[in-house]
Amino acid sequence: MELSGAEIIAQFLHDEGVEYLFGYPGGAVLHIYDALLRADSVKHILVRHEQAATHAADGYSRSTGKTGVALVTSGPGMTNAVTGIATAYLDSIPLVVLTGQVPTGVIGSDAFQEVDSVGISRPCVKHNFLVKDVKDLAETLAKAFYVASTGRPGPVVVDIPKDITDPNIKIPYTYQSSIEMRSYNPVTKGHPFQIKKALELMLQAKNPVFYTGGGVVLGNASQSLRSLVRRLNFPITSTLMGLGAYPSSDEQFLGMLGMHGTYEANMAMHDTDVLIAVGARFDDRVTGHLEHFCPTAKIIHIDIDPSSISKTVKVDVPIVGDVDDVLTTMLEMLKETEQNSDTEALKDWWKQIKQWRKKNCLRYNKKTKSIKPQYVIEKLHEVTDDDAYITSDVGQHQMFAAQYYKFEEPRHWINSGGLGTMGFGLPAAMGVQLAHLDKTVACVTGEGSIQMNIQELATCMQYQLPIKIINLNNRYLGMVRQWQEFFYEGRYAMSYMESIPDFVKLAQSYGHVGMQVDQSADVEEALREAFAMKDKLVFIDFITTREENVYPMIAAGKGQHEMELAPDSELV
């Protein structure tokens, strides 16, 4: 088969089984767009801003486990995509981002819409390529998908100069389904000796706790994790990124840990003697002050990325390997040896945990007339089923969603954890909805975040995406305001949002349904009404209490055991 570079891209994406391509055309990618139109092999989703293309591909990937693909033009197209690429990088999401580039002959001449895409993206990609010869194109694309999706996943940028896609230059093409690279051989099998050593430590533990992260979700290890945690009867806590890997409703689940985690989770972490970290990376929002982090614990760390191990916290038993593979091996070893955990010690440990749970750290006043943001999330959880997908933006609403929406399944909680990208929620929800056309998808957001990619309401109309937007509108940049209240004596510098649009009319102007709710008593009905409109995007603007704070909280620089709970006046 003789194809041009542009046709090779269209054909390769088809052969690779790519379902959706999120993109925005421009001069440097016109040959590719022409070939895509004629080939009609991959569904192209036209976003309204390149950042949204990368977030949508990202949301698609997080909710399916498949590699998300985006296509943008050179120069500003590429720079707009960078935020989405960095978002995917920090959360280890497999993306392939194809960026157009000026023709090879003029690279370096400051040509129109030229930027050094490989240079700009280098620090926020797993790897990137510049294709300098059309003969290398197919192999480079194959490498890009291979690198993005294997080992610790991540985004890969392929920069393609316009002359490489010239429709008049045709070369033979064959699809390479597998690829080998001498410099890239990710480890998958954990070392059996290390696994055995870890297991011995776990079986002797008196106060063990599992601390699991996004790696469990990415590594599809949810089932083996559930089996192992139940088999051992250990408590388990999860990071923001790992929510859903273990069911929130389960008695052994302590809730999220970290800065806005539960009291019981952080206290269990502080007092544990054996910590089993699985696919988690000891982020500063999790550890708090390192000196006070798990002071009495022996630490076992299972991760596919060797550089994650002992990066910030020195661990005692490192296991490099695929998380699912390691957990499955542990289960098999337990079966063979028929050993059990220390049941007597665990009884005491659970008793202690029960004491901590009595604090009921997520209590809040439900009897207000005005709308508490926590209440909206609780009701959202009530009116949606366990198979609903929830995306979020970044800020207080994100923490409320993580705390009060009880996730039961992996890949159903989609948010920007590492980079904390405002504007992520809506475009990510588009990718999720396209991947799951018949499922419920809601985007929890705030009036600050939603305006960072509000233009995507047009994309949602074009492709008839019935996303439900839950806008927690407190007229403040809530998380910024909270920090200013706590740490800047209440000086609210630029955290107040003036000139907020009428979101109801705005949604309507795009052809969607807009609703506004300002009474607590109306929340549930409004949600039920919105979710009953199965084929429509509904934007619900909840006017919430203005100065709500996210509790519990470990202030930056404090230890895990120094949690601040909501003041009594807040509790009922």
Binding site: K132, S183, P306, S307, S310
Partner: protein, 165 residues
């Protein structure tokens, strides 16, 4: 502690900047860095001198290994018992008649070669460890040194252990 890390790198455009970028992005030290193609034209050999605590050096080697263009690497201070390191220097010295004997004598002591001579300037070529080159420089006062150029350290393991595919 000072470590010498030898790296086999894909001979790709941008490979060098990935290594250099990693060091600046993660705030690691680079004391010197030298790179050139090997007998296999698809690969370059890089020698990188860095310093840091044991934990930082461990992170550096892990992060380097994570770069897709890094084929293989060795920390010469960890992976082999002994290693040899060499650095080359070209140094241009003021050579008025009164100090020519001294320059020649010092060059001999340090086993250097005078490789260029003009009316009142000598250029000396010197190979050895970094300390040796430093010592040679220290033997002259600043005013008499017109220019120095150093290759950066190259390193190789002693004995049969070697860094190859």
């Amino acid at each position: 502690m000072r470590h010498i890390i030898s790296i086999l790198l894909e001979n790709e455009a941008g490979a060098l900047s990935r290594v250099a970028g990693l060091f600046s992005a993660r705030a690691y030290n680079i004391e010197s860095l030298t790179v050139a193609p090997t007998e296999d034209s698809s690969m370059s050999r890089m020698t990188l001198v860095t310093s840091g605590s044991a934990e930082i050096i461990e992170q550096i080697t892990k992060q380097l290994n994570k770069l897709i263009d890094v084929v293989k690497l060795n920390d010469l201070n960890v992976s082999c018992e002994q290693h040899i390191e060499r650095e080359m220097m070209l140094i241009k010295l003021k050579a008025p008649v009164s100090s020519r004997d001294e320059i020649m004598r010092l060059s001999n002591i340090f086993r250097g070669n005078i490789i260029d001579v003009s009316d009142d300037v000598y250029t000396v070529e010197l190979t050895g460890t970094s300390e040796k080159l430093n010592a040679f420089i220290a033997a002259f006062d600043c005013d008499s040194i017109l220019e120095t150029v150093r290759s950066g350290v190259m390193g190789i393991a002693r004995g049969s252990s070697s860094l190859h595919l």
